[in-house]
C-alpha cells in the first residue's frame, strides 16, 4: 500500500511538472493578435514558444504556437518554396522575402518569417511547413502571446535591425545593428517577459584584432554552445571571424570582447550557424554567402585563447573547417534532429526547402 501510494504520488508529481512548466512559460501572455510590422529573426523556446523579432517596432514577440508534440517530420522537399509561399499569399515568388527559417524543436515543424511584398507596407506573416510538406500560414489571430519592447537609447527612432535571435536556458539573446550609429548591441532578456525582468541588459560587442586594434563588431549570426559547462555564444562578426564569449561576461559591464576561434576568410558572410554531434564529436555547421556550408570541428574550442598573429594569404587560422560542396547556395539553415538539417537553398533550379543529412 505504501509503495503504491508512493508510486502514485511520484506519478502525480511527474504529471504536474510539465503543466507547471507550461504555465511558467505562458506567464504574462495574453490572448490576442500580435500586429507584426515585420517578421524578422526567429527563435524557438521550449514547448513551442516562438520568438519573432519585429525590428521596425523594436519589439520581440513570444507566441505560444501550441505546436508542442512531435509531428514526425522526417523528410521534406519543396521546390520553388518562394513560389509556393507566394501562391499561398496571393502573389508571385519574386514578391516574397524569407527573412528567417527555424525548426520547432518540440515538433520538428518548420517555420519561416515572411515579408509579403518588398515595399514599406509589406505584410508580415509566419508560414509553417509540416510532415505533409504543405505550406500554411501560422494563425496570428487570437493566440497567446507576450512581447517586450527593446530599449532605444536615442531620442528618436533610428531604424534598428535585429540580425539574429537565440534562446538558451531561459534567456533570449538579441543581436542587432542600426541604420545610423555604428553599434554592436547584444541584449539578454529573461523569458517569460516581465516588467521586473526589464528590457534586457545591453552590451556592446567588441572585436580585438590580435590583441591590438579594437572596434565595435556587430554580430551577424550566433548560437549558444556550452564549453566546459559554461554557456558561451559562438558568433560570427560582420568582419568575418568566428568568436566565442561566455554569457557570464554579458551580464557584467557594458562591453564584451570575443575571443577569435576561427578566421572564416574574406569575401564571405556567415548566414546561419548550428551545432551538432556526429560520431561522438561536436561540430558547427555554418551557412555562408560565398563559401557554401562549412563544417567546423569544435574539438579544442575550449583551449583556444585567441588568434594573435595576422593570417596572410588566403589561409585561415584557429579551428579547421571543411567545405560541404553539396550544400552550396544555402541561405537558411537549422537543425531538425541529431542527423538531419533543414535548409533553404538557392540553385539554378530556383529556391527550395529541403531536409539534408548532417555532414
Amino acid at each position: 500500500m505504501f509503495n503504491r501510494l508512493h508510486l502514485l504520488s511520484a506519478l502525480a508529481a511527474l504529471a504536474i511538472v510539465p503543466a507547471a512548466l507550461a504555465d511558467d512559460l505562458t506567464a504574462g501572455m495574453k490572448k490576442g493578435s500580435p500586429s507584426l510590422k515585420q517578421a524578422g529573426a526567429l527563435a524557438f523556446g521550449p514547448e513551442g514558444v516562438l520568438f519573432v523579432a519585429d525590428a521596425p517596432s523594436s519589439t520581440i514577440y513570444a507566441v505560444a504556437t501550441g505546436d508542442t508534440k512531435p509531428a514526425d517530420v522526417k523528410s521534406v522537399s519543396i521546390a520553388k518554396i518562394d513560389e509556393v509561399i507566394g501562391g499561398l499569399l496571393g502573389t508571385t515568388g519574386s514578391d516574397i522575402i524569407v527573412n528567417d527559417m527555424k525548426v520547432n524543436p518540440a515538433s520538428g515543424n518548420i517555420y519561416m518569417s515572411i515579408a509579403r511584398g518588398k515595399g514599406p507596407s509589406a505584410a508580415a506573416t509566419i508560414v509553417k511547413v509540416g510532415a505533409d510538406g504543405k505550406a500554411a500560414e501560422m494563425p496570428l489571430k487570437d493566440v497567446m502571446f507576450s512581447s517586450v519592447k527593446l530599449d532605444n537609447a536615442s531620442k528618436q527612432p533610428r531604424n534598428p535591425t535585429i540580425t539574429s535571435l537565440v534562446f538558451h536556458k531561459g534567456e533570449l539573446y538579441v543581436a542587432g545593428m542600426t541604420t545610423e550609429e555604428w553599434e554592436s548591441n547584444l541584449k539578454t532578456i529573461a523569458f517569460p517577459f516581465s516588467e521586473s525582468n526589464g528590457k534586457g541588459a545591453g552590451v556592446q560587442i567588441y572585436h580585438g584584432a590580435h590583441g591590438r586594434f579594437e572596434t565595435q563588431a556587430p554580430i551577424q549570426t550566433f548560437m549558444a554552445y556550452d564549453i566546459a559547462g559554461q554557456t558561451h555564444l559562438l558568433a560570427s562578426y560582420t568582419c568575418t571571424p568566428l568568436v566565442k564569449f561566455p554569457v557570464a561576461e554579458i551580464k557584467k559591464g557594458d562591453k564584451v570582447k570575443g575571443t577569435t576561434v576561427a578566421e572564416l576568410g574574406n569575401m564571405n558572410r556567415p548566414l546561419d550557424i548550428i551545432a551538432y554531434k556526429k560520431d561522438g564529436k561536436d561540430y558547427a555547421l555554418i551557412a555562408n554567402s560565398a563559401r557554401g556550408v562549412m563544417k567546423v570541428g569544435l574539438e579544442g574550442v575550449d583551449k583556444i585563447e585567441a588568434i594573435s598573429t595576422p593570417i596572410k594569404g588566403g589561409g585561415t587560422a584557429g579551428l579547421k573547417y571543411d567545405k560541404v560542396e553539396t550544400l552550396a547556395g544555402t541561405t537558411q539553415l537549422d537543425k531538425l534532429n541529431d542527423t538531419t538539417a533543414v535548409v533553404i537553398r538557392k540553385t539554378d533550379k530556383g529556391t527550395s526547402l529541403e531536409t539534408v543529412a548532417l555532414p
Binding site: 521596425p56 521546390a79 520553388k80 513560389e83 509556393v84 507566394g86 501562391g87 499561398l88 499569399l89 496571393g90 502573389t91 508571385t92 522575402i97 527573412n99 518588398k118 515595399g119 514599406p120 509589406a122 505584410a123 505550406a135 500560414e137 537609447a153 531620442k155 528618436q156 533610428r158 531604424n159 535591425t161 535585429i162 540580425t163 545593428m177 541604420t179 545610423e180 550609429e181 555604428w182 572585436h207 584584432a209 590580435h210 590583441g211 591590438r212 586594434f213 579594437e214 572596434t215 565595435q216 563588431a217 551577424q220 560582420t238 568582419c239 568575418t240 571571424p241 578566421e263 576568410g265 574574406n266 569575401m267 548566414l271 595576422p310 593570417i311 596572410k312 594569404g313 588566403g314 585561415t316
Partner: protein, 346 residues
C-alpha cells in the same frame, strides 16, 4: 412551394448567361455559378507546372446578390494573373498594372566630394519607397579606370532601410577598414588615399512596380587621409551670432554623418531648453549653421553634442571607430555628451 418558386426565379436568368469572373474592388467576382463549394483561386504566372505546384490563394468565399465573391487575405497584386476554378468552370483574371510614378534618387550622402580613406557609411536617398531585397546587386564602387571593386559593402540580409524605405544605408565592409583583420590583409582597403572612385547606383534596379529605376546615378569620390581620432567637440569652432538676426555656425573640421547629426546636435538656450530653429549642413558636411525660429535673445547658450555623434568614418565623441590599444590616445576625450558654451550679446 413559394420558396421553390423563388429559387427557380433566380436560377432561371443565371442559367442562360455564361459564367464570368472579374476583378472588382480588390475582389474576384464570379457570376453564373451558385456555390462557393470547391472554388479555388491560384496565382497563374509561370509554367503549367509552376501553377500546379502552387497552393490556393488564402482568402474567403462568400455569396451576394447571385454572385460569388473571393476576398483575398492579402491584396491581389497588380500585373498578376489568377486562375479561378470550381463548378466545372475555369477562368483567368488579370489585375491590371497601375501606372505609378517611378522613384528618383535624390541624394547620396556624405555630400563631400573628398572623403577620408576610412569612410564607413553612405546613404542613398529616394523621393519614393524602393523595394527591399537584392540591393547589393545594384550598388557598386568603381575605380577610376572603371573596374568594379569586389564586395565593397557589408551585405546585411535585412538591408539597412529607414521605415518608409526611402533611404538605404550602405556600410563599407568593416573588415576592409579595420586593421589586421583578414579581409583587409587579403584584399586591401576599399578606398586608398589619393585615388578617385565612383559610387554607382544602377538604373537597372527594379522599383516596386517592377520598372527599372532609370538612369545610373553616381557620386565621384576623391580619397583623402584617414580620420582615425575620436570626435572632440572641444576643438570645434563655434561662431556666435553677431546680432540677433544672424546664424550660429559650427565648424567640425571633418565631414560628419548627417542623419546622426540631425538627432544629436542641438542648441540649448539660457533657460536650459532646446532652441527651436532650423539648421543646415555647410562646407560639405564639415560645418553646421543654425537659425532660431525667433531672433536670438541675449544670454548664455550652448551647442549640445551627444556622445553618439559620429563623423563619416564612425568615430564618436571620445571613441574612435578603431582604437589601437598599444597606442593610447595622446589626449583622452570623455565619451559623453558635451555642451559648448557661446554667448549672444546685446
Amino acid at each position: 412551394m413559394s420558396r421553390t418558386l423563388l429559387v427557380l426565379l433566380i436560377v432561371a436568368p443565371l442559367a442562360t448567361a455564361a459564367p464570368t469572373a472579374q476583378v472588382a474592388d480588390g475582389k474576384i467576382v464570379v457570376t453564373g455559378l451558385l456555390s462557393t463549394k470547391a472554388m479555388t483561386v491560384v496565382v497563374a504566372e509561370g509554367t503549367d507546372a509552376d501553377v500546379a505546384a502552387r497552393p490556393p490563394v488564402t482568402g474567403e468565399w462568400s455569396s451576394e446578390d447571385g454572385k460569388i465573391i473571393f476576398t483575398p487575405k492579402y491584396p491581389l497584386k497588380a500585373g498578376v494573373k489568377y486562375r479561378v476554378t470550381g463548378g466545372g468552370e475555369k477562368f483567368e483574371v488579370h489585375v491590371p498594372k497601375i501606372a505609378e510614378k517611378l522613384p528618383t534618387l535624390t541624394h547620396i550622402y556624405p555630400t563631400a566630394a573628398e572623403l577620408p580613406e576610412n569612410v564607413l557609411r553612405f546613404y542613398v536617398e529616394f523621393d519614393r519607397p524602393m523595394p527591399r531585397g537584392d540591393v547589393y546587386k545594384y550598388v557598386a564602387v568603381l575605380k577610376e579606370n572603371g573596374d568594379k571593386i569586389a564586395q565593397p559593402f557589408l551585405e546585411i540580409d535585412d538591408e539597412l532601410w529607414n521605415a518608409d524605405q526611402t533611404r538605404l544605408t550602405l556600410l563599407i565592409d568593416p573588415g576592409r577598414i579595420k586593421k589586421e583583420v583578414k579581409p583587409r590583409i587579403d584584399l586591401g582597403p576599399v578606398f586608398e588615399q589619393g585615388k578617385k572612385y565612383r559610387l554607382v547606383v544602377s538604373g537597372k534596379w527594379p522599383t516596386l512596380s517592377g520598372e527599372p529605376l532609370g538612369k545610373d546615378v553616381s557620386k565621384s569620390i576623391t580619397v583623402g587621409a584617414a580620420v582615425t581620432e575620436a570626435l572632440d567637440p572641444k576643438v570645434w569652432r563655434v561662431t556666435s551670432p553677431s546680432d540677433p538676426k544672424q546664424t550660429l555656425t559650427v565648424s567640425f573640421g571633418r565631414p560628419m554623418d548627417l542623419p546622426v547629426l540631425t538627432r544629436n546636435l542641438s542648441v540649448i538656450g539660457p533657460d536650459g531648453q532646446a532652441v527651436v530653429g532650423t539648421w543646415q549642413p555647410t562646407d560639405q558636411d564639415r560645418g553646421w549653421s543654425f537659425r532660431p525660429a525667433a531672433h536670438w535673445s541675449p544670454g548664455e547658450y550652448a551647442v549640445r553634442a551627444e556622445a553618439v555623434l559620429e563623423d563619416v568614418c564612425g568615430n564618436r565623441v571620445g571613441r574612435a571607430f578603431e582604437v589601437d590599444l598599444l597606442k593610447p590616445a595622446p589626449k583622452p576625450i570623455k565619451a559623453q555628451a558635451l555642451d559648448i558654451p557661446f554667448v549672444v550679446g546685446r
